[in-house]
């Protein structure tokens, strides 16, 4: 029991670092996107040109220009950043395995594909907010899936070896 707790503690610290870095980098990315739109930086727009089609009517407007990525991409980035921040703040509660998170990720990925495919083939016209919400759902479920599946139970030998290595590393 004691060993299990120690094993989890090591992994939790590591995952907490990942979520902190994720939240920080995600915030920087979002801030950069808003600054690029506010200042109408051409260089910034071309920087993201390989990451997104940047079609103006599919992007949220901000200040005099529109964001450098489409509504679906900004939804994904917001979802990922927000989930990392929540995981960081709620680190102790987060680490409970839940099979539903994987299911939500699969459902949101399929929903995005169908949304894209149906519009591509002209079955219906989606709205900017539906794309953003689907992206948001994908971003949130992706990060939660990764963080919830990361901790795992070590067996006795692994735990002993891992503890020894950590001691050696100081």
């Amino acid at each position: 029991m004691r060993g299990e707790r120690r094993g989890y503690a090591v992994l939790t610290r590591s995952l907490r670092r990942v979520s902190i870095y994720g939240a920080m980098l995600g915030s920087m990315l979002l801030a950069a996107l808003f600054l690029i739109a506010w200042n109408e930086w051409e260089f910034g727009h071309s920087l993201f040109s390989h990451l997104c089609h940047q079609k103006s009517e599919r992007c949220f407007g901000f200040g005099p220009s529109h964001l450098a990525v489409c509504s679906r991409c900004i939804g994904i980035y917001f979802g990922m950043t927000g989930s990392c921040a929540i995981a960081w703040l709620q680190a102790k509660k987060v680490f409970t395995l839940n099979p539903w998170v994987g299911m939500i990720l699969v459902i949101s990925a399929i929903a995005n594909l169908l949304d894209f495919g149906f519009e591509w083939f002209g079955f219906y016209q989606n709205a900017i907010w539906t794309r953003a919400l689907l992206g948001l759902l994908t971003g949130i479920s992706l990060v939660l899936f990764v963080l919830l599946r990361s901790p795992y139970r070590m067996d006795r030998d692994e735990e002993k070896a891992a503890s020894m290595r950590l001691l050696e590393r100081g």
């Binding site: 390989h50 089609h53 079609k55 990361s150 030998d157 692994e158 070896a161 290595r165």
Partner: protein, 171 residues
């Protein structure tokens, strides 16, 4: 691999197979600009393939940060190489690989768009056609490669390292 039971020493596992496999996938998928339409999906796939190859090659399960590291490096290699090839062909033959396909895609979007944004899109297509290769383009490409590889590789590597959890722990 390691004297310690249940732990695989990652110093004994060179990254080369993972980097090569993921790099090739990222190279092929990003060389043709369908990545414009698919956002960072090609790089997510490249990163996913790199970490998966590493896990299966050495039969290890990886910590999140190491899985992401392999994936990001593979994406940097693959996307970097495809950008170099793209630039070389552009400079040597004044031909941009997949550019016509991309313009065709943009024209399709512009035609279905309402007049103000459709016109803006047509203007940006003209600007793209007139664009010439210069130091500014090269610097922008370097930043784009780093940014896109970081985002796509991190997502792909993280997914692969949490999906494949069989084998000994790599540390």
């Amino acid at each position: 691999m390691s004297d310690e039971p249940g732990i695989v020493n990652l110093d004994d596992c060179p990254m080369k197979p993972g980097l090569a496999a993921g790099g090739v996938v990222a190279f092929v998928l990003t060389l043709f600009p369908m990545s414009y339409a698919l956002c960072c999906l090609p790089l997510v796939l490249g990163g996913f393939f790199a970490t998966t190859t590493f896990c299966f090659k050495y039969k290890v399960r990886l910590e999140l940060k190491y899985g992401m590291k392999i994936a990001i490096l593979a994406c940097l290699l693959g996307f970097g190489a495809s950008t170099v090839v793209y630039d070389l062909v552009w400079l040597a033959f004044d031909y941009r690989i997949g550019f016509e396909w991309y313009v065709f895609f943009l024209i399709g979007l512009a035609e279905s768009a309402p007049p103000p944004s459709g016109d803006q899109l047509f203007e940006s297509i003209e600007l793209l056609r007139e664009q010439s290769f210069g130091i500014g383009t090269f610097v922008q490409q370097i930043f784009t490669v780093i940014l896109a590889s970081g985002i796509g590789g991190a997502i792909g590597g993280a997914l692969a390292s949490v999906l494949f959890k069989k084998g000994a722990l790599g540390q």
